[in-house]
């Protein structure tokens, strides 16, 4: 596996907040930074501030398992995720920065006859939507990833898998830093340790934010705060259909390359890849109850590891190096909400739940369009807030219920 490049001392310019911007983005994670970059690059809007409560990309951007794929069931989902995947394929050149994007393929295992039927259906839907997809039987699964136990003796045997060869992983920190550097080069202000504490309103319109570093006016305030979206929305009287949960992940000690691809299993709640440095990176399902504490329960990790060891017997000799949690915002149909809010001057990007990392360039592209034009891009038009009034849900639970 390739080495990890050396980093310079400073990659982006930290700014003091000015009193007014055309666009203030709340949340300095991957989505917020990508949105700022594409606002400047695609729409010529560089009068942009990205406000971050903590340090840059220290929330879910630092806590996810970096899986990238676009093999979602519905056309609307395949549209935005495939747009994102195409951007990933050229992102390193676009940003002029290494992001270690590795298209090593993603396997989604099926463990029951119903999962087989769903998987085969999803492969067909993907092919119709222009997304690369294959159905593999257990022998082919073992050929792609020899360490998967495909014995029929398992409690939940592997009956097959969907395979997206163009899927893979990227180095999450480098993605954030690459976007931050490229955005500041185009004139965007990145302001860390600046927490939004309220909103400025005039005649119903949002005209700016109140922060721990003073008031900042804006023509448009663009929320991009993942698990804390409800906290911000409550300040402005906007009710959003989100529930915040802790989602945990863990890494093993550094190992020789043993795992050539990405394996996900919804039924036994584990997904795993091997990072460039050599650690196994594993995620689980969410903790069931609402939470804003960036840590989860040990029993969730225990079940995840039990599933991992059953599927990958060689993992029994690995050690857990560290575990952590992030706060994810789960929507009722497991699809994101990206668009207008019904409040002038306020846009929203949230509801990505457990799977927002893979969408980073795609949502940045579409959210920037939404902000610049005051109208959704056609790829995020299905993901409006008002689908929970009209009933036009994008129900991805069938395709992506647990692991994203």
């Amino acid at each position: 596996m390739s080495g990890v490049p050396e980093q310079p001392d400073r990659l982006w310019r930290s700014a003091e907040p000015r009193r007014h911007y055309q666009v203030v983005i709340v949340g300095g994670g991957g989505h917020g930074l990508a949105t700022a970059y594409y606002l400047a690059r695609n729409h010529g809007i560089a009068d942009v501030a990205v406000l971050e409560r903590g340090w840059l990309a220290g929330g879910n951007m630092a806590r996810n398992t970096t899986i990238i794929r676009s093999n979602y069931l519905w056309e609307a989902s395949a549209g935005i995720y495939e747009h994102s995947l195409k951007l990933w394929e050229t992102l390193e050149a676009e940003l002029g920065y290494p992001i270690l994007f590795s298209q090593r393929g993603v396997l989604n295992l099926a463990h029951s006859p119903q999962e087989v039927r769903d998987g085969v259906r999803r492969v067909q839907a993907n092919l119709l939507a222009g997304v690369d997809a294959q159905w593999l039987d257990p022998t082919d699964v073992a050929a792609v990833c020899p360490i998967v136990n495909v014995s029929p003796q398992l409690r939940y045997p592997v009956l097959g898998a969907t395979y997206q060869p163009r899927g893979g992983i990227a180095k999450h920190d480098y993605v954030a830093w690459g976007f931050a550097r490229a955005a500041t080069d185009l004139g965007v202000d990145i302001i860390e340790h600046c927490e939004v504490t309220g909103f400025k309103r005039r005649d119903g319109r949002v005209t700016g934010v109140r922060t721990t570093r003073g008031d900042i006016g804006a023509h448009t305030v663009a929320l991009s705060a993942a698990g804390h979206t409800s906290v911000l929305a409550d300040m402005v009287g906007l009710r959003v259909p989100l529930q915040s949960h802790a989602l945990q992940a863990l890494v093993s000690d550094l190992l020789q390359p043993v795992h050539p691809t990405v394996v996900m299993s919804n039924a036994v709640h584990v997904y795993v890849s091997q990072a460039h440095k050599g650690e196994l990176v594993m995620g689980a399902g969410i903790d069931a109850h609402n939470s804003y504490s960036q840590r989860g329960a040990v029993h969730v990790i225990e079940r995840q590891l039990a599933a991992a060891v059953e599927l990958f017997p060689v993992f029994a000799r690995a050690h857990v190096l560290r575990t952590w949690g992030g706060i994810v915002d789960v929507s009722p149909d497991a699809s994101p909400i990206v668009g207008l809010t019904g409040i002038d001057g306020l846009t929203i990007n949230c509801g990505w739940g457990t799977g927002g990392f893979k969408a980073t360039p795609g949502v940045g592209w579409c959210y920037a369009h939404t902000i610049a034009h005051g109208q959704p891009h056609n790829l995020n038009a299905p993901f409006t807030l008002d689908r929970f009034t009209t009933g036009a849900l994008v129900d991805e639970h069938g395709a992506a219920a647990v692991a994203h």
Binding site: S230, V231, P241, L242, S244, H289, N290, S291, S293, H299
Partner: protein
């Protein structure tokens, strides 16, 4: 691992319980009178506070009783329904 007090069985591990989300969400008295927006809000929108949440739990691996409690979503401190 939280220690949750079932009103019937006493304090038990979190793993014995099933989560039920926000408590006190009443079914609309006249559902047909609701606008689409109000109905959508009833179906899909629940409280999601950073702080104390009044919520439902079921002692599903024990006596199977449903009950309410208050829990802080940051500290996970659990208290009885008030």
């Amino acid at each position: 691992m939280m220690l949750i007090t079932c009103p019937w069985c006493g304090p038990r591990n979190e793993t014995e319980f099933h989560y039920g989300g926000e408590a006190g969400v009443a079914y609309p008295t006249d559902p047909a009178a609701l606008s689409d927006e109000e109905w959508g809000r009833f179906l899909f929108v629940r409280a999601n506070p950073k702080g104390v949440l009044h919520e439902r739990w079921s002692h599903s691996a024990g006596c199977r009783r449903w009950f309410s409690l208050h829990r802080d979503t940051v500290t996970h401190e659990v208290g009885p329904a008030r």
